[in-house]
Symmetry: C2
Subunit: 149 residues, 2 copies
């Protein structure tokens, strides 16, 4: 796939990933390793919680989104290197059987004054389920290389 | 360990987790599943990148931090439920051999007007390596139950 220097991206440009099916085993496996709370581990225990049923850890959704991005068409030269994240939220829970897709939009970009070989680009990445409901959104500042002069 | 209602937390209160050793296999395993980029997967390939050596995915550090929090002394009644995250950044890379610890500080809290049985509490969670360098920091809005009247 095409790799992009900072100059090659345009504001408003959007990149849509392939899709990722989420199953009960992967939700529970991630939770057992990193977020061992009842609503991520056990269907029965999850019923009586705020989630009202088994739901993926938000960090699991964030990790799946990263995989979709790395394997998708949004390809800065040198890779996806995040400098920081803001406005990360999970408006809807991710459930077993959901199929996730991530869309990345270019919001802003600027070349570094002190290091002209790179710049910072702000993107919004939104993760959808199969009903096109938003399950996660964030704004990321990415380190992107500029085209060698 | 003690569980806390919203009323039980005080501003400025800090909670420090146990520690988590990071090894090469866990960095590469997470990367293979969720962030398959050369600087997270292969020591030799990582040398020529911005990271100058193998480094954990930022989402791996975030997931490890969640595990430290879930198993640590910061225990709202009903569990750790994040409504959103801001100012997430990774000031230093996490390397094989690092040992991580997370410290959570209470920044703000307020009861919900529409749903008095819960509130939102802002916390800052900072993750340190064994040299007490910050490897990750964020501000989270947590949903926390109020004490039943």
């Amino acid at each position: 796939m095409t790799e992009y220097y900072l100059e090659d991206f345009s504001l408003g440009q959007q990149f849509e990933s392939a899709s990722y099916p989420v199953d009960e085993a992967s939700i529970k496996g991630f939770a057992a390793e990193f977020d061992p709370q009842p609503f991520h581990l056990d269907e029965a225990a999850a019923k009586g919680t705020l989630f009202q049923g088994l739901a993926a850890s938000g960090w699991n959704t964030a990790a799946i989104t990263m995989k979709l991005m790395v394997e998708g068409p949004f390809k800065p030269v040198g890779g996806l290197i995040g400098a920081g994240i803001d406005e990360l939220s999970w408006p809807q829970p991710v459930r077993p059987g959901d199929v996730l897709t991530a869309v990345t939009e270019v919001l802003e970009k600027r070349q570094s004054k002190s290091r002209p070989e790179r710049g910072i680009m702000k993107i919004r990445t939104t993760t959808y389920n199969q009903r096109r409901e938003v399950v996660q959104t964030y704004v990321a500042s990415m380190v992107v290389q500029t085209r060698p002069q």
